[in-house]
Amino acid sequence: MKKILVYIEQQNDGLKRTSFEVITAARNISAGIPMVGVILNGNADVIKSAGDYGLSKVVNAKHSLLEKTSIMSASAVVYQVAKSEEADLILFAGNAAGMEIAPRVAVKMDAGYICDCVALEVTEGNIVASKPVYAGKSQIRTSVDSDNKVFSLRPNVFTASKSEGSVNCEVIDFTPELTESDCKDVVVNVMKNEGKLDVLEADVIVSGGRGIKGPENYHLIEALANTLGGAVGASRAVVDAGWRPHAEQVGQTGKTVSPSLYIASGISGAVQHLAGMSTSKTIVAINKDKDAPIFKVADYGIVGDLFDVLPKLNEKIKSILN
């Protein structure tokens, strides 16, 4: 390893939390190897916060074509920065953008790429990545054979922690060489889930399954999610029944989430659902059936009727939070 390049992103007035996670992960495997960040059209004052996490240099790529937010142009920029910095190890957050940019950068660099890593360790000078496979039913440890290496890290799994003693983060402007042919894909519209927290961004998720019996009862889930400042999730059964939108589905054919707290209520715990939430930090299961598979992956379980339990739990948590 010669140098680590970290792809970081700005959101509103700060860097994304996932960016801090990736910087921390880079720091933990760096063992003195230089680290540098790359950001597209960033704000220098915002970028400087990366210094708290030990990143002493960030290349801020600026180009009018980058306003088109194209995956192809972002990939071209990361590659150009990697070349000029002579970086041979590139880390991305495994969010929607990272998952599209990383494979392109890997091809450009003739690098092996491992996506959706949940752990990175250095063994005999080589990086060994752990990655869930078969929807989390098993896990592999894998390493990259090529000189250049690219990894993406599952969001919310790596803990972001500030480095001992903040460093000054030098921000260097960089003008990439871009043409229209680097921007063949262009974002023309962004549709935010208005006022609704997305399960991919939430630190707390309260999900409902078939046990909720009908869409008219979902207010019980929503109330608890509200109290906790969390997002509402759903099992596949609930989405397939048309009770909830697909955007809320957690599991193998939905979203993979990893919040600090995941509360599964009335969800039996089919393997396809477990696949989407098993790396959550703390899992609570509420189910009538004491033999439901969900209890096997839960930290805490309540065997009981969710129609009794959810309102009581909500009141109790409210009283604690006050």
Binding site: R104, Y113, Y134, V186, M191, S260, L261, V284, F295, D305
Partner: protein, 248 residues
């Protein structure tokens, strides 16, 4: 339209996964293999676009003789042509991408469709990797697609919402649930598919870029405290979440 659909052969999602005797792969004993569920959306979308615009849908799989079963499924659903790149059991994403790219170059498709990820290695990289190799744009995790005037307009999921992306053809689309409802092949079509030709191609050899060191079952580090549903139990749960797990 000339449409290429890339499919993979994976264990049925309800399969119980166990680590095989080599400690690096799954034990395939008793596993039922199927078309990757997300690839069914890709096949369906290809067929609908052909029904609307005319053209040809070619399905391709990188695999072994055993992979012919998923091509037969694709043929039964209605694809025009089936191609098997017949070599080793794919063990490296780069090998798969390179061989898909090599074939794509020979037919110059207007559109390449694939599933958002194959549910074995869950790598979510093929559309981007292939796009890069072919110099084509790619749009991933697409749940709505319109092709008009030589341009793809696609809705894709991102954190906190969706974005609409435009890309000129030729391009690649990775398909997400919600894009369509894949058709079930009819029995006569399943029978007919059995005798349809499958073109076999010798793979380009590539150097693997990643090595799997070992495969393990996920370690269970969960506390596993199971309580009842009395008021005292709920008090206890909240106390544990507050003081032990420190999540509220």
């Amino acid at each position: 339209m000339n449409i290429l659909v890339c499919i993979s052969r994976v264990p049925d999602t309800a399969s119980r996964i166990l680590v095989g005797s080599d400690g690096k792969n799954i034990d395939t004993q008793g596993i039922k293999f199927v078309v990757n569920p997300y690839d069914e959306f890709a096949i369906e979308e290809g067929l609908r676009l052909r029904e609307k615009n005319g053209g040809t849908v070619t399905a391709i799989v990188i695999g072994t003789e055993a992979s012919k079963d998923v091509l037969r499924t694709a043929l039964a659903m209605g694809v025009d042509k089936a191609v098997l790149v017949k070599g080793k059991e794919p063990d490296d994403s780069f090998y798969v991408a390179r061989n898909l790219a090599e074939y794509a170059k020979t037919i110059s498709p207007d559109l390449v469709l694939l599933g958002r990820q194959s549910v074995d290695y869950d790598s979510r990289q093929m559309a981007s990797a292939l796009g890069e190799m072919l110099g084509m744009p790619s749009i991933s995790v697409v749940s709505k697609l319109t092709i008009e005037n030589g341009k793809a307009t696609a809705e894709k999921d991102i954190e906190g919402g969706k974005v609409v992306v435009e890309a000129a053809l030729p391009c690649l689309i990775s398909c997400q649930k919600g894009l369509n409802d894949p058709r079930y092949p009819k029995l006569p079509d399943i029978m007919k598919a059995k005798s349809k030709p499958i073109e076999e191609i010798v793979p380009a050899e590539t150097q693997n870029k990643v090595t799997i060191l070992d495969m393990t079952m996920p370690s269970k580090k969960r506390v596993g405290k199971i309580l009842g549903a009395e008021d005292a139990d709920i008090d206890e749960l909240v106390k544990l979440l507050h003081e032990e797990a420190k999540v509220i």
